[in-house]
């Protein structure tokens, strides 16, 4: 049986067609979903899209360990029903032990096509339950060290030397630059690709251009400080983006992005990729995971956030089509949540969580990492899922294998991956 048939079948089984009403899909499965013997044209630029789930996602609801009996014992009202449990909506089985939250249905075809992997029980060696410290640690890549000035993605890109680096090597979609991209790489933060210029005024079309020239002169002064430096990079970026005009790229292959903040950001990442502006790392936040109360189960608050995530990722993969061969999406979150539900049908700050890896070079369709178990005696500090995979091991693998960062580059100072046991998430 050819791979194409196989893919088509699982696609149908996953119900993606019915769900999205994308009948056009039946006519042509994106070639991205069909593994081919050869990779894309040589020399194509590899890109990474880092998605930060701020607020600490409950990994146990996102990727449900339905085979662990302690899971259902710990969660009377918020557990996700096991596959074939007879409930009208249940988790979607992955391998007999783990299952996707039903809201992740849109990305199940990617799992089936082995483009999507999960790393579970992944997290930080430092057990802080402060969102802000844990986010900083994950973004600087130095758990426990607060003085690290730059982010791991900046260090990674700096180590991956470029002869003529594009101002769009690293882009954060949003008004602020995340810590992961701060540093020497000179990343760009943009709230929107549509508004990335000095506006021309209505009365005189030419004068906007002239105002830009004026501002440019002001920021081009030889002063070495944060404002002038950023200003110079800004104008370089503006010119390049004007020439590339990413706005002309409409979603392809029938992709429909959710009309949410996250969906709109991912759509713009796709536009930057297609416009070939030299993007190597894009960073996108998706917020709303701090579910202390009423987090819901198959439906509810968390289900809605997960649906936003999965609809967005599915649309992105579909939109990019073949280009997904060279693109990797990595999700991350500062920590997970307590194994037991709290008094308010929610969960408090915990330890390990699950991360998703999606793309052409992923050895997908597998859950990676050792499962530490959820029985009371197996928990970290008697309350949380223990960390069995240091997030730096996963991040390092992504940096080395996908981005081609040289292994000798110390982008995670003080971290030595466990000997002889690579995760092997990437082919």
């Amino acid at each position: 049986m050819g791979m194409e048939t196989c893919v088509r079948r699982s696609f149908l089984k996953g119900g993606a067609l019915a769900l999205c009403g994308l009948t056009a899909e039946a006519a042509g499965i994106p070639r991205f979903l069909v593994r081919t013997a050869h990779a894309g044209p040589a020399g194509r630029r590899k890109a990474l899209v880092a998605v930060f789930q701020r607020g600490a996602v409950d990994g146990l609801s996102m990727v449900v360990p339905h085979g662990d009996p302690a899971y259902y014992a710990a969660r009377a009202s918020i557990a996700i029903g096991a596959p074939a449990s007879g409930k009208s909506e249940t988790a979607i089985d992955l391998d007999g032990f783990f299952a996707f939250h039903p809201a992740l249905e849109p990305i199940k075809p990617l799992w089936d096509a082995r483009r999507l992997a999960v790393v579970h029980a992944c997290g930080s060696p430092v057990s802080t339950r402060s969102h802000f410290d844990a986010q900083d640690y994950m973004e600087t890549g130095t758990p426990g060290v607060k003085t690290t000035p730059d982010g791991w993605l900046s260090r990674g890109l700096v180590a991956r030397a470029r002869t003529s680096p594009s101002p769009f090597r690293a882009v954060a979609l949003g008004p602020q630059l995340p810590r992961a991209l701060r540093g020497e790489v000179g990343a760009v933060a943009m709230p929107s690709v549509n508004d990335f210029d000095v506006r021309s005024d209505v009365s005189a079309m030419a004068s906007g251009v002239n105002a830009r020239r004026g501002f440019e002169a002001l920021y081009e002064q030889g002063v070495r400080d944060v404002i002038h430096g950023t200003g110079r990079e800004t104008f370089e970026a503006v010119k390049m983006l004007k020439a590339a005009d990413p706005r002309k790229f409409e979603p392809a292959n029938g992709a429909r992005y959710p009309r949410t903040d996250f969906g709109e950001k991912l759509q713009q990442v796709a536009q930057l990729v297609k416009a070939d502006v030299g993007l190597e790392v894009a960073f996108v936040d998706i917020a709303g995971w701090d579910t202390h109360a009423g987090q819901g189960n198959e439906r509810g608050q968390l289900a809605y956030r997960l649906a936003d995530l999965s609809h967005g990722l599915a649309a992105f993969a579909r939109d990019l089509g073949d280009v997904m061969e060279d693109t990797l999406v990595l999700t991350m979150s500062e920590f997970g949540r307590t194994v037991r539900e709290n008094g308010n049908r929610g969960t408090d700050h915990g330890h390990a969580t699950a991360m998703l890896v999606l793309g052409g070079s992923v050895r997908g369709g597998r859950v990676y990492g050792r499962w530490p178990g959820l029985a009371p005696e197996q928990l970290f500090e008697e309350r949380d899922l223990a960390v069995t995979t240091d997030f730096r091991q996963l991040f390092a693998e992504v940096a080395f294998e996908h981005l081609g960062v040289p292994r000798e580059a110390k982008i995670f100072p003080g971290f030595a991956p466990p000997r002889g046991t690579p995760l092997g998430v990437l082919a």
Partner: protein, 553 residues
């Protein structure tokens, strides 16, 4: 720029803090006989303790004396502010009671909300934001936060009580709540009005207590739901369910509001603090939505918090006991001192100053006005290193630009437009008021705000404002440069720089602006006169407000 003379004499302050709101004793921060109050000193004060100078402010402060000006700002009740108070009538929700807000802005039909969400996920319907708020014709709850943001921006620009407004922003972010978390949509306005504003120059403990008991905070950090372990709900939708502890508020109280993340508490302390606050709730969704203590929900055992024992049986007072313990903790003095020094002096405040402000905290039981005095009396505050060392946050950039151009409220397109448009401008630059989701609020340091996209946004706002394209906000740049000969662009430029930034731009910036005068788009050519006839002062003003210098304060 003229050399910045550190007037050590300025530190010799004779400012006497008067009691609660009574008339201040006449005194002065600086002694002009010893150190002349230079433009730089006055500008520094107007940039740090106010949202930047308006034309004429430097002269006004000089006439009054820096010390007297600061002292008035430290006693905002003594400053007449009727004009802005009248303006704010345009935003009726900011004065409405919680009850009225819930009555006037009914909750939208949950089924309709779910339907709109579903559409959004599938890529149909309207985009995220306003549209899913309400069906057509329904009063939109989002107006409550929008009017509060508009009022906040109008106050930043036009209130005479400038330091008060800066502190409202500072303390709101310190005790942040997020306007889009369910009930907070209605409670946000009462929260700022009742829990933050009255205490911004008062005792820190009062701020902690007022926020701890406010329904907005109780809801935002979930404490209203937190109960002793094993409580079984007797009624309501959860009838028969076992309830229990929620750590959210307890953790943020220790981590963010008081001790600080490295302040020396443990996970055990978080649980004990959460136990102490069980039962601190509010009457919601049924009831008057006011604070209520629920004795049945309270864990009445004894608690051990940071080495102190809270005896069993304390009931509602357990929470008060925790607030006393944490607000008297030396780590809290340090955390608050560091944040104030970071806001008013520099992103990395000198440890010597932080030490002194922390000591003031401990000596005065957390008196915020006294800590402010320690800061404005400090050598570090007046040092050259601190001068223009801070980057303006978005709301500061927006407000200071409007002030620099002496903006006023226009009658078109409507009375409420000015505030909404100014808030929208700040939002475009990344600071959407009342919409910071995490409990840290918006950051106060340059690294968060200086980036390519944000700088472009700032330039674009400068253009819109100077060219009168912010609806409802009127500027008259022509009037500002009145007196300068329009046929002499250099003269116009000097006049503009004098009136907007007191000539405080680098020689190089002055040169570049001057070169712009030769740009045909700046100097308009008229048909009957081949020479430069008419300097485009609006564009020039935009360049000044968008310049690197103007991003600093």
């Amino acid at each position: 720029m003229r050399p910045w003379r550190v007037g050590l004499a300025l530190v010799a302050v004779a400012l006497v803090v008067s009691g609660c709101g009574t008339a201040p004793v006449a005194s002065s921060v600086a002694s002009p006989a010893i150190a002349p109050e230079s433009d730089e000193h006055i500008l520094h004060v107007l940039n740090r303790l106010a949202y930047g100078p308006r034309p004429g402010d430097v002269e006004r402060v000089r006439a009054m004396g820096i010390g007297a000006w600061i002292e008035r700002q430290l006693h905002p009740d003594l400053i007449a502010d009727e004009a802005i108070e009248r303006r704010l009538a345009a935003y009726p929700t900011i004065a409405m009671t919680t009850d009225d807000l819930f009555r006037e802005y009914p909750r939208p039909d949950p089924a309709a909300v779910a339907r709109r969400r579903e559409e959004m996920l599938r890529g149909d319907g309207a985009a995220d934001g306003m549209a899913r708020e309400a069906a057509p014709g329904e009063p939109r709850r989002i107006m409550i936060a929008a009017e509060l943001a508009a009022a906040r921006m109008e106050r930043a620009v036009w209130s005479e009580r400038q330091l008060q407004e800066i502190l409202v922003d500072f303390w709101f972010n310190h005790f942040n709540v997020y306007a889009q978390k369910d009930a907070v949509r209605w409670l946000i306005s009462p929260y700022e009005r009742e829990a933050i504003r009255p205490h911004v120059l008062g005792r820190f403990r009062d701020l902690v207590l007022a926020t701890a008991r406010h329904p907005a905070m109780l809801f935002y950090l979930d404490n209203w739901l937190s109960t002793r372990a094993g409580l079984v709900a007797q009624a309501g939708p959860n009838r028969g369910r076992r309830l229990g502890l929620n750590e959210n508020y307890a953790r943020e109280l220790l981590e963010l509001h008081t001790l600080g993340v490295d302040g020396g508490y443990t996970q055990g302390d978080v649980v004990e603090v959460a136990r102490a606050f069980t039962g601190w709730s509010f009457a919601y969704p049924q009831g008057d939505r006011q604070f209520v203590f629920r004795p049945r929900a309270h864990d009445d055992g004894d608690k051990r918090v940071l080495g102190h024992v809270i005896a069993a049986g304390g009931g509602e007072a357990d929470g008060i006991a925790v607030i006393d313990i944490v607000t008297r903790h030396p780590s809290t003095a340090r955390t608050i001192a560091t944040k104030l020094a970071r806001r008013f002096v520099s992103d990395d405040p000198p440890p010597s100053l932080v030490d002194r402000v922390a000591r003031t905290y401990q000596d005065t039981d957390g008196d915020i006005r006294a800590m402010m005095l320690t800061i404005v009396r400090a050598r570090e505050f007046w040092s050259e290193a601190a001068y223009r060392a801070k980057i303006k946050k978005p709301i500061e950039l927006v407000a200071s630009a409007a002030r620099a151009l002496d903006a006023s409220v226009g009658s078109e397109p409507g009375l409420r437009s000015a505030g909404f448009q100014l808030a929208r401008a700040a939002s475009t630059l990344g600071e959407r008021l009342f919409n910071a989701q995490p409990p840290t609020g918006y950051p106060d340091t340059a690294d968060a705000w200086v980036n390519t996209g944000a700088l472009l946004g700032r330039m674009n706002f400068a253009l819109s404002l100077a060219q009168n394209r912010v609806p409802g906000v009127r500027v008259d740049v022509e009037r500002l440069v009145a007196g300068a000969d329009r046929r002499k662009p250099e003269e116009v430029l000097d006049r503009l720089l004098a009136v907007t930034v007191h000539g405080q731009v680098s020689a190089r910036t002055r040169e570049i602006l001057s070169a712009q005068l030769r740009d045909p788009a700046i100097v308009r050519l008229t048909a009957d006169d081949r020479g430069p006839a008419n300097t485009d002062v609006e564009k020039l003003a935009a360049l000044v407000l968008g310049s690197p210098e103007f991003q600093r304060k």
